[in-house]
C-alpha cells in the first residue's frame, strides 16, 4: 500500500499507512453496534446526503449549513495521522479534510467561547446501535478552544483520497491525533461553542476510566489495563506508546502546568 505519493507535510507521519481494508473493517462506532465488524456491516443504513451541520452557541452567526457548502469553504488537504485507541491498538490513517481551526475562525467565536462541543447524529433508524442504551445518545465530544485551534486538530471528510466511508464517521468527523480515538467523534451534526466544559459521552459513562482530556499517555494506565504499549493493526507484537501519541513536541505546551494524572 503506497499512498500518499504527495510529499509529506509538517503534520504527517511517515509511518506505513494502515491498509484501507483494515482501516474500514475494524472500527469502534457504537452507533452501529459493539462489535468491531458491526460498523462496516451496517454502515449502509447511514444516509450522508443530504446532511446539515448546526452551528450555534457562542458564535456571532449561528447557522445550519449543508455539508457540501461547509466543506466547500476550505481547500481539502491530506493528513497522515496516527490513531491510538484507548483499548490499546493503533492505526495510521490518511485523512482528507480541513483544519478545525479554519472552521472555528470562520464561525467567529464570541469572547465567552472557551470550549467546542461536537454532537453526532441521533437516529436509531440509521444507527441500529442507538436502539440500546449502551451509551447516552447522541454521542457528544469536546475540546478546549485552544486545543481546537491547534493546527493538528482536523475535520475529516475523506479517507485515502476517497469519500469517508460510513463506518469511519461519514460525512464529517473529528481527528485529534494526540488524544485517544474516542475523542475523535464521528458523523457530526452539530458544533457548539460553549463557555462551560462539555459533558462528553465516555466521561459521563465511566468518569474514573475516561477523562475529558483523554490525551494519549503511557504513564497513566486505564484502571483496567496498561496504556504503556499498543498494537499497530497489521503487526503481531506490541510497540511502546508515546506521550501524546508521538505529538508531544507540537501539543505538550497546551498543557503546561496541568497535572496530567488528574486531568487524564
Amino acid at each position: 500500500f503506497t499512498r500518499p505519493a504527495r510529499p509529506l507535510g509538517p503534520y504527517d507521519t511517515s509511518e506505513a499507512v494502515t491498509p484501507y481494508a483494515q482501516a474500514t473493517s475494524y472500527n469502534n462506532f457504537y452507533e452501529f453496534g459493539l462489535d468491531k465488524g458491526d460498523p462496516a456491516r451496517l454502515a449502509g443504513s447511514l444516509k450522508t446526503r443530504p446532511w446539515t451541520v448546526r452551528i450555534d452557541g457562542e458564535v456571532r452567526k449561528p447557522m445550519t449549513v449543508d455539508i457540501d457548502t461547509l466543506q466547500g469553504w476550505f481547500p481539502l488537504e491530506d493528513r497522515v495521522y496516527r490513531m491510538r485507541c484507548v483499548e490499546g491498538w493503533s492505526m495510521v490513517m490518511p485523512w482528507l479534510g480541513f483544519p478545525l481551526a479554519a472552521l472555528i475562525r470562520r464561525l467567529e467565536p464570541t469572547s465567552k467561547a472557551k470550549y467546542v462541543q461536537f454532537t453526532a447524529l441521533l437516529d436509531p433508524k440509521q444507527f441500529p446501535g442507538q436502539r440500546q442504551a449502551v451509551l447516552k445518545w447522541p454521542y457528544v465530544e469536546g475540546l478546549r478552544l485552544d486545543e481546537a485551534l491547534h493546527p493538528l486538530a482536523f475535520m475529516a471528510v475523506g479517507l485515502d483520497g476517497r469519500v469517508l466511508p460510513g463506518q469511519n464517521g461519514a460525512p464529517l468527523r473529528l481527528a485529534v491525533p494526540w488524544k485517544y480515538g474516542f475523542k475523535s467523534i464521528k458523523s457530526v451534526v452539530r458544533i457548539t461553542l460553549t463557555e462551560k466544559q462539555p459533558q462528553t459521552t465516555w466521561a459521563l459513562a465511566a468518569p474514573q476510566e475516561y477523562g475529558f482530556y483523554a490525551n494519549v499517555n503511557p504513564a497513566v494506565p486505564h484502571p483496567r489495563w496498561s496504556q504503556a504499549t499498543e498494537r499497530r493493526i497489521g503487526e503481531l507484537g506490541r510497540r511502546k506508546t508515546l506521550p501524546f501519541n508521538g505529538y508531544a513536541e507540537q501539543v505538550a505546551g497546551l498543557y503546561n502546568g496541568m497535572d496530567l494524572r488528574r486531568y487524564f
Binding site: 483494515q22 473493517s25 475494524y26 457504537y30 459493539l34 468491531k36 465488524g37 483499548e87 491498538w89 440500546q132 449502551v134 451509551l135 459513562a205 465511566a206 494506565p221 484502571p223 483496567r224 489495563w225 496498561s226 504503556a228 504499549t229 498494537r231 493493526i233 497489521g234 503481531l236 507484537g237 506490541r238
Partner: protein
Amino acid sequence: MTVGGLLPVAVLLLDAATGQLGANPIQRATLQTGLLTLALLVLSLACTPLRLLTGWTWPARIRKTLGLLAFGYAALHFLIYLFDHGFDLSLMTEDVLERPFITAGFTALLLLVPLALTSTPRAVKRLGFQRWTRLHQLAYVAVSLGALHYYWGVKKDHTQPLIYAAVIAGLFLIRLARRAPNRRPGRTRPRTAAPD
C-alpha cells in the same frame, strides 16, 4: 468428547492461517479462548445440577473432561496473553499485581492448576474422597473469578458477562437448594450425591 472439545483450537488455527481473525487476530484469539474457558467451566459446573434434577448419570461421566478442557483453554488463553506481551514477565507481574481485571483471571487460572493435577482416579484415592472433594470446590471460586474477569474485561456492554454470571449463580442455587437438609424434612441427601 476430548476430540470434539479441541475442535475450536482447529477452527482458531484455520482462521488464523486464512486471515479470518480480522484486523486484530491476537485480540480475537484471546477473547475466543477466554470465552471457551468460561463456557467449559460453566458446563462442567452444570453436570451435578443436571444430574440432581434429571437423575441422568451421563453428565457426571463427562464432567472431568469438561474441566480438563477448560483448563487447557485457560492455559492457551494465558499463553496468548504472554505472547502478546512479548513474554515480558515484568509486564505480566505488573498486570497481575496492579490490575484487578488481570488479578482475577490469573488467580482463576492458578486455582485450576491443582484441579487439573488431581483429576486422575489415583489422585482421588491418594487424597481421600473427602479431601479431594473439598479441593475441587475451588472450581466454584475459579468460575466466579473467571466471570468477574470477563465482566471487568469488556469496555462497556456487560450483557454477555452478566448472562454468564446469572447462569453460574443459578447453578450455585440449585446445588444449595438440594443441599439444605432442613428445608426438606424426611429426606436425606442421597449417599451417591457427591458434593463437588
